[in-house]
Amino acid sequence: MIEVKEPRRPIPIIGSLKGMLIVGKHLFRKPVTVQYPEVRQELPKRFRFRIFLNLDECVGCTLCEQVCPNGSIHMQSVERENPRNKRKIYPDVNFGTCTVCRNCEEICPTDAIYLTHVFETSRTRNSFTYSPEELAMNEDEVKK
């Protein structure tokens, strides 16, 4: 345990002037903000947002649907030839409610579902849900 001491009673005004000086000095420091569309901050390797799905790997185990804390993932049946996915069900993701908790990536037994650096996924209100095919596509193709 240590007792914090109150600072010595400052000489009136001098301390305030010092504070003003510190504030004024920051005029010459580099800004910390980034001009977003022109300059993009370098994102760390682990930064995650948009969910991708590898259709060939997905085995349709529905674990991601179960673990999703707020029910953003639902299974859809997709007509597709995949010997590992006999039931032909694949997850879709509603990005309107997805909180990017990464539990689906964590639990996926075949690493078919994974999160990526892509974060510019602005969409209109009725098209938040990405179908399994859209999850496998790049963001540019989805927007078309």
Binding site: G19, M20, I22, H26, L27, R29, P31, V32
Partner: protein, 346 residues
């Protein structure tokens, strides 16, 4: 040679009565334009300075370096709906922001700006009693604030207006007394000590050096007049939302906002005129206005720094401060400068 006489000469083909009228008209238009442009520039400067000090970039999207941002903001404010509270006191509610702006613009009209090359003296209206006129005009603006606070029938606005009144009373008397000391000193050297112009002309040695107490009292009073932090009790945003202007929106709010920045600029002009030698300086015959502008700009930057780094003082402590420290200090300053004037003839 002044702006007025230049204009009079320009319009002389119209005959005396008409050219006189035209000269006054154009002079007023110039004043209004210059004042509102400098207000816009002030707000731009404030936002840019605040952003840089706070490690941000500031406006930089509209126009080069964001210079047109404020113009865009003015258009936005004009377009916005001006909301009217249901229980308002209609007439005072409408005229309150106008009064603030009128007080501000009138004050800009009596300030002597010094001379600038071809135009001569830029002073708009020079009377023999411009000191009295200036402080009379300065007391119009608080009326607008009080009217706004009371007429919008909002509890926050009412509390803000009450605080504004308490604040105004407690700093204006010390302010006037410290101006009295200036007039006293000036009266020893000029026959017209009530005209700001002649006060400044006598100011070979700036009065700020002769009256260090006076300049600090007056500076504090000017900060309180403009009501920004640390003395922004009237509109303290973390307690009373925005005080007396809580219910205003659109351009009516914009007028209060312009009033705030206008008072900072005005305060800087007045302090530099009374205490820092105003338009005196090398080549003041040609560059007088530039000197005044530079001095005012430095004061403006200092006041922005004060604004950004000081917390808000509590209202009762400010009233105490005003009556127990500022007023005696102003009195002491008066006595000292009187003695100085008597002994040295200064």
């Amino acid at each position: 040679m002044s702006l007025y006489s230049t204009l009079l000469g320009f319009f002389s083909f119209l005959g005396y009565p008409l050219s006189n009228a035209a000269a006054y008209l154009f002079e007023s238009i110039f004043l209004l334009l210059a004042a509102s442009l400098s207000l816009v520039f002030m707000i731009y400067l404030f936002r840019k300075y605040m952003a840089r000090v706070q490690l941000r970039i500031g406006p930089n999207r509209v126009g080069k370096f964001g210079l047109l941002q404020l113009i865009a903001d003015v258009f936005k404010l004009v377009q916005k709906e001006s909301l009217f509270p249901k229980n308002r006191d209609d007439l005072p509610y409408r005229i309150a922001p106008v009064m603030v702006i009128i007080g501000l613009m009138l004050a800009f009209a009596v300030i002597p700006y010094g001379s600038f090359f071809y135009f001569g003296s830029l002073t708009v209206s020079d009377t023999g009693v411009s000191v009295i006129l200036l402080f009379a005009i300065l007391s119009i603006m608080p009326i607008g604030e009080v009217l706004a606070g009371i007429s919008s029938r909002n509890k926050y606005a009412l509390l803000g207006a009450l605080r504004a009144v308490a604040k105004d009373i407690s700093f204006e008397i010390p302010m006037m007394i410290s101006v009295l000391a200036i007039i006293m000193m000036a009266s020893a050297r000029t026959s017209a000590p009530l005209s700001i112009d002649s006060i400044v002309v006598t100011e070979v040695l700036p009065y700020g050096i002769l009256q260090p107490i006076g300049i600090s009292v007056f500076l504090v009073a000017m900060i309180a007049r403009a009501s920004y932090s640390p003395f922004d009790m009237g509109e303290s945003d973390s307690e009373l939302i925005t005080g007396f202007s809580t219910e205003y929106s659109g351009m009516r709010f914009g007028m209060f906002y312009a009033g705030l920045f206008g008072s900072i600029l005005l305060g800087s002009f007045v302090v530099s005129l009374f205490y820092l030698g105003g338009f005196n300086g090398p080549f003041s015959g040609d560059l007088g206005a530039v000197w005044l502008g530079i001095k005012a700009l430095i004061l403006v930057i200092i006041s922005f720094t004060v604004w950004l780094s000081m917390p808000r003082i509590r209202i009762d402590k400010f009233v105490n401060f005003g009556w127990k420290y500022l007023l005696p200090l102003a009195m002491i300053n008066l006595v000292i400068s009187g003695a100085l004037t008597l002994m040295t003839g200064w």
